[in-house]
Amino acid sequence: MTALSIRKLEKSFGGLRVTRGVDLAIQPGERRLIIGPNGAGKTTLFNLVTGELRPDTGSVALFDQELTRLPARRRAHLGLSRTYQIITLFPKDTLLRNVTLSLLGLSPLRWNPLLRLERQRHLIEQAEHALARVGLGHLAHRPLAETSYGERRRVEIAMALAQNPRVLLLDEPFAGLSVDERRDVKTLLFGIPRDVTIVMIEHDMDVALDFAERISVMHFGEVVVEGTRAEVVADPRTKEIYFGE
């Protein structure tokens, strides 16, 4: 059984084919890195997997369950979480409220118009725990707008982890971080247990190559190289994509 299976995925915007017959099979517990130049179709691939975009053809399956026709919200309930390249959080709210919203998304409580959210101790405690897990427990009551960029990245990861995902998609989690913040996020990602499968898009090769076991190189919407770190680094097509002929 594969954790995430992508078969012949195609997507075009008008005349522009952004993914061309992408095939990926990611095993449970695997750490997979997806790299490629800007415009290679990496984020579009994530959007197709999470259901934010509908593929023209092809299919996506999560632990052998077909996702292709399911709306994006249902995929979250089946164990698919993601973070965004451009941080997408709730800036007017506190860190605690951000993570609470994440937990609430999978709870039937989200439909309840009669209870007070602040009195749902089990949710609040879970949110506090998720924040503590990413080292932000002490900032739980701080408004997001008053936090640093690196802290917001960690809130994104806390929100994703709070949903206990089976597959976690990380879209450039190190983008825009300082050296210290990169170290913190790296430690955090290395600490995620193996029952969570991770697929990561990243440009920072030093960090990403340490993290990933297998790497897929995308170029013009296609997966052109796939293999272990050594195989991908040694492949002449990788050098050609990044350095030219």
Partner: protein, 336 residues
């Protein structure tokens, strides 16, 4: 007792004693009208302030409720059945409004609600056999719940006050609930909310239904207040006034729409007796609010008071920090 609670208690005392200190039946009736329009503005604010959806069609729903009561009463139906019919018909109408309008957000939502509101106005104006057209429908008297007659302005005021307080409490519970948090999330980051597992469309639909419920209640109160309903109540300017009430007072707050309705209704009913061009005055007030307090009167005043307190000196030890999640805004404060 904290300052907000003292203010709340003072406001309650002031509201309950209105017939004692307001001079004359006319002004007591104006107070009833303020409360009715406050409920209407609260309904609109649920959408503007908490869902990020601006409706210009709510007067259509308000009118639908009023006309349903009026038509039922004119046909000899009892008050309870007429009110029940108004609730059913207007909530069904709200579902249709929401189903069509929520195909879009932003400008698209505004334009669809505007069009639907204008359809309702057109029906009120042209479907003469049902609505009486320009002549409207006169309601044959007010109900007498539990044997209490509501003919006297002060009696009707108390009935309106009771309904108003219930709607304020219901709205407070609604916006502070898990569903309210979900709704605010869809206002701020709909894409993220979908990725987190929320059904954004359905959340907005339910918010429209709650907003429609408040609007229905306001419409029912209005037709009993005026004992008459005619097309001008349903027209676009009525929807726009409701939106202005919510925005000028402060959308995303509970106190804001109430303050906005006080402002608009006083200018319409009181200042208009002394100033011929009261519309111009109302416009000037709105322009001033937009320039000096773009967030609305209630959040703007709160901001100024906080700034003044800050200038006066440090917050005493033991006072709650202003930026904690536990410090959930009191009614009237901006939504987080």
């Amino acid at each position: 007792m904290t300052a907000p609670r003292v203010a709340l208690a003072a406001a309650l005392v002031a509201l309950v004693t209105v017939p004692l200190w307001v001079p004359g039946d006319y002004y007591i009736s104006v107070c009833s009208q303020i409360l009715i329009y406050a409920v209407f503005a609260l309904g609109i604010d649920v959408l503007i302030g908490y869902a990020g959806l601006v409706s210009l069609g709510h007067a259509g729903l308000f009118g639908l409720a009023s006309y349903t009561v009026a038509v039922c009463l004119a046909a000899g139906v009892g008050h309870v059945a007429a009110i029940a019919a108004a609730l059913v018909v207007t909530l069904a109408g709200t579902a249709v409004f929401a189903g069509l309008s929520l195909r879009a957000t932003g400008i698209g939502f505004i334009m669809i609600t505007l069009a639907l509101g204008q359809i309702m106005w057109g029906l009120a104006y042209r479907w003469v056999s049902i609505t009486g057209g320009d002549n409207g429908i006169t309601v044959p008297g007010r109900p007498a719940p539990f044997g209490l007659r509501l003919d006297a302005p002060s009696h009707f005021y108390y009935a309106t006050l009771a309904v108003f307080l219930l709607t304020v409490v219901a709205t407070w519970v609604f916006v502070h609930s898990p569903f309210g948090a979900s709704l605010k999330g869809t206002r701020d980051q709909p894409r993220r909310m979908t990725a987190l597992g929320y059904h954004v469309w359905l959340i907005r639909f339910y918010a429209c239904m709650f907003s429609g419920l408040l609007t229905t209640i306001a419409g029912i109160l209005f037709v009993y207040y005026a004992e008459f309903i005619s097309p001008p109540t349903v027209q676009l300017t009525s929807s726009a006034e409701g939106v202005l009430m919510a925005i000028s007072g402060g959308s995303g707050t509970l106190l804001g729409p109430i303050v906005g309705s006080i402002l608009v209704e006083i200018v319409k009913n009181v200042a208009s007796a002394y100033i011929a061009r009261w519309n111009m005055m109302l416009g000037a007030i709105f322009v001033a609010i937009v320039i000096f307090m773009p967030e609305g009167l209630v959040p703007g005043t709160t901001r100024l008071v906080r700034r003044a307190l800050k200038l006066r000196g440090p917050i005493p030890a033991g006072a709650p920090a202003p930026t904690t999640a536990a410090a959930e805004p009191a009614p009237g404060e901006p939504a987080p």
